[in-house]
Structures are given as structure tokens and as C-alpha cells.
């Protein structure tokens, strides 16, 4: 991938497309799970890729490209959150067409969707640092090592943030009367 970066710097359109194909879905999902609004996530993804493009000359080939790209994305998400936190509205409704266990009855399906919606909305109520740690580890299933590199924090700190996030989400579920 380091070669692709060099080719991008040399003006290769194909190399830029490779870079976009490699990271666009990951960055979009990170942004969507962080902000909870589809259209805003699209705007954020575009801004992040513009930042990647203009920052390419600063990329150090000795460093991991994925971690570098996702760190840029993380910084942009946190900066935007701090700048616009007073303007935030509710997150999108959790998609009701999500697959649930086929054996479940309609009532169980409804309960499961409601729980997922509570968790999805609850993400908005936890601080951005904790939210990002929860997204990377629990939703995207990344390793603590990878999450620590992206967040620029020690693995112990990431673990502690994830645990605090789970406790806060458990409180939210409890207050909302969701079933354990």
C-alpha cells in the first residue's frame, strides 16, 4: 500500500481509486456509527478523504498506513464533534429490517429491535473517546492493539474506556426499561 501512496503523490488516478476502495467502507462505517446520521456520515467521509489526500505528503512509509488513515479519520470525527456538539439532533432510527434469529416469534423480534435501537441511540449519550473505543472493539471487532494505535492511547486505557462504555450503556438500557 505504501507504493500506492507514492503513486498517488505522482498523480496516479488509479492509485487514488485503490486507496478509496480500500478504506471508504471502513471510514464511512466508523463515521456513521460515531455520529448516527447517514447523510452527516457521508459528508464526514468526504471531508476525511480530502484530508487524507492533502496529508499524503506527510505520510511516513515506516508507519502502518491503515492506522495512519484511521487516526486521521478519528481526529476529524472528534474535532467535528467538539465544534458542532450543540447542534446535534437525534441519531437515525435503527434499521428495522435487520436480520434477527429466524426461530424468534414476532414479539421477540420486536423486543430485539427495540433493544438494538436503545443501544444505538445510547451511543450518542457517551463521550466521544469512549464511544470510539466501543465502536472499534465491540461493533467492528478490532483488536485492542489496533484500536490503541488508531486512538493513540495505551491498550489499558482503551480497555478501560470500553468497560466504562459498557457500564454507561447498561445504565441507559436499564433507565429505558429495556429487558436484560
Amino acid at each position: 500500500m505504501e507504493k500506492v501512496v507514492q503513486e498517488c503523490l505522482d498523480g496516479s488516478e488509479g492509485a487514488w481509486r485503490t486507496l478509496v476502495d480500500t478504506f471508504s467502507k471502513r471510514i464511512f462505517n466508523l463515521a456513521y456509527q460515531f455520529c448516527g446520521r447517514y447523510e452527516e456520515a457521508e459528508d464526514l467521509t468526504q471531508e476525511i478523504f480530502m484530508k487524507i489526500y492533502t496529508s499524503l505528503p506527510k505520510y511516513d512509509p515506516k508507519k502502518n498506513l491503515t492506522a495512519w488513515v484511521l487516526t486521521l479519520a478519528k481526529n476529524h470525527l472528534i474535532d467535528t464533534y467538539r465544534r458542532t456538539k450543540r447542534e446535534k439532533t437525534q441519531r437515525d432510527d435503527f434499521d428495522e429490517n435487520l436480520p434477527v434469529e429466524m426461530e424468534s416469534g414476532p414479539e421477540e423480534i420486536m423486543v430485539a429491535t427495540e433493544e438494538k435501537n436503545l443501544i444505538w441511540q445510547g451511543l450518542e449519550k457517551i463521550s466521544p473517546d469512549i464511544r470510539l473505543a466501543v465502536i472499534l472493539i465491540e461493533i467492528q471487532g478490532r483488536s485492542y492493539e489496533e484500536a490503541a494505535a488508531i486512538l493513540g492511547a495505551p491498550q489499558g486505557t482503551v480497555k478501560s474506556r470500553v468497560n466504562r462504555g459498557k457500564i454507561q450503556l447498561a445504565r441507559i438500557l436499564r433507565q429505558s426499561g429495556g429487558q436484560p
Binding site: V20, F28, E42, T54, W120, R174
Partner: protein, 172 residues
Amino acid sequence: MKCSRVEKLLPIYLENELPPQEKRLLEAHLRQCSDCQTTLAYLQAIPSLLASIPEREISPSLQAKLYAIPSLTPAPAKKLGFSLDWLLRPAFQPVLAAASVFLFVLSFFLFHPDGRFLSRSINEQLHLGYSRLEKIMAKAESLPGYLPVVRESLQNSLKSLSQSRPHESDKI
């Protein structure tokens, strides 16, 4: 063990990473506290709920916008052979801090409205001190020539004193 402490330890307990003694204390608390049992049940449910949030596909229109970024943005400037990153190194920070303090103090003299008056007053004080020192030195130099005159006048006054009061001059 208090409920607030138990709540903090529950995620670690679920990962089976608690030391045996703390685990025994926590389990003893759980047997008696229905509130903490409920919290535990919620915490057990959360990882599967979070993991069930699916990945979304990006729209073709976004993909097209991302592909078009190089044509809309000026080409990134290539990295120069040298960089000034060393200025931002942590080891260099005390030097930068000292330089900032120096420039801050200097700015009082250069840009403060009273700065000129301040420097003029300092210059005057320096000149005054210097001229006083010069006067003292001049007096000190003339002192050896002046001493015989003082001695002579002292002797004369003693003589006149002894003549007017002969008995007291004996005592002296």
C-alpha cells in the same frame, strides 16, 4: 463491597480477569443484591447487541465524489528534503519555553508605550550612579594632599588649647 464498586468490576468479572479474592467478594455481593444482578444481566447482553449493528454499504454517489477528490483539490505538495519537525520534539520544548519568556520580557521594552520611558529612566540612573562614583574617586585621590593640612590645623588647635588651659592640657 459497595454497589458502585461492583458496577466498575462487573465488566472485568465477565472477562474472568478478577483476582480470586475479589471475585469471591463480588459473587457474595451478587448473591444478596438484586440491583447488581440486573446490571450484570444488562452487561452480558450488551456485547451481542453491539456486535449486531451491521456494516452499511456506501452509496455509489459518495463513491463517485471520493474518486473525484483529486480533480477538485489542488495536488498535494511533495515533501521537501528537510523538515522542521525537530522544532516540535518534546526535548526541544524547554528551549522554546525559555525563548518565549525572553521574547515576552523583551516585548515590554520594544512595544510597551512606557518602554522608552523605562529604558530612559534606567539610562539616567546608570549615568547618575557613574558620576557619583567618579566624584568619590576624585575626592579619594585628593585626600593624600589634603591630610597634611588637616594635621597641621589639628596641631595648631591643640597648641592653642594647651596654652589657654595649661592644667587640662597636662591631662590630655
